[in-house]
Symmetry: C2
Subunit: 193 residues, 2 copies
């Protein structure tokens, strides 16, 4: 595991995705690993931390999530722009070497089944909370976050530090086609008002 | 209505929130208007466009949404940083003049019940799709988008143009406390790869 990676307390885990980044979803089942991009992932609760993610019926990842009941949500970086686009547009169902072609490197953390994507800025290991109606009707999956980690060069002590980190560590915010935006400037509202 | 506001086709409406901005939720019932901030709002489907938004039981807005079955999701701008923070931290239950104090100006669009917040960059009028289990268990509300509009100075012809617009029109991405980030630089992945 990269020396920059450190655990994030579960009570601060929601902050890893609170700013609405496009994420990568990874899962494994019976020896098959997969990773897809998802722009539609969102925090759902603070304690225990939960999140939602929309996973289309056409994806191979969906079957892995449903069968293993676990997945990892990770926050890719500006340096992973092309990787994020590529795992979001190709499918393991058509391309058996999808992950290799996209340059995805996986690693594992003891105690967690699903694989983690190297080079991201944050990782949230999730246990699927089965909600068949949501899954069938809306492709909506709910996960409880059971472990969280960050690259301490950009998220440390419960806070993102995009403004002090390399721009390559910024988060990606997908629109459509090949169009993304990076996260931008830090702004502070007056909290004493 | 501001002369910069123009309708967005429903098939492109998801793009207004695809990059994960913090939004404002507005609703009205029996003469009571309210507006709250929500970082946990996410696209759910393309056609018809749907979205999810988490609305805590402690908010006054929740009751207005439940009773009127309609609400507006709007994308506030960097110029509305303090307004967004203020409507997210004060409650109409404690402060009857909440909206006035936060500087919220409302306007209406014919055919839609819920009020719209002036000065935002995008608006999505939604009809509540009742899902009592999600609402009760997760504070999770699903809306079908029935109308969408944008400020054409920053979203036009189905695309955001943050890179060419005034930085004051950028979207806000909330973390915690008074900390936000603005949307940043445009990035293009290679789509021919």
């Amino acid at each position: 595991m990269d020396t920059h990676i450190a655990p994030v307390t579960l009570e601060k885990a929601y902050r890893l995705i609170n700013h609405g980044p496009t994420v990568l979803v990874s899962a494994t089942h019976q020896g098959v690993d997969n990773v897809m991009a998802a722009a539609w992932c969102c925090a759902l609760d603070f304690a225990p931390p939960k999140l939602t993610v929309v996973i289309d019926k056409a994806t191979r990842t969906r079957e892995l999530v449903e069968k293993s009941a676990s997945f990892v949500i990770q926050v890719p970086t500006v340096a992973q722009l092309q990787l994020t686009h590529d795992v979001g547009t190709s499918s393991l169902l058509q391309e058996a070497d999808k992950l290799e072609r996209a340059g995805v490197e996986l690693f594992h953390i003891d105690g967690y089944d699903a694989p983690f994507v190297a080079g991201c800025s944050a990782w949230l290991a999730c246990r699927l909370i089965p909600e068949p109606h949501n899954q069938t009707t809306y492709d909506l999956f709910i996960g409880e976050v059971t472990g969280a980690w960050s690259d301490t060069r950009v998220f440390k002590d419960g806070h993102w530090h995009f403004e002090d980190a390399s721009p390559e560590l910024g988060s990606l915010h997908y629109i459509a086609g090949g169009h993304f935006y990076a996260i931008g400037a830090a702004l502070e509202a007056d909290t004493d008002k």
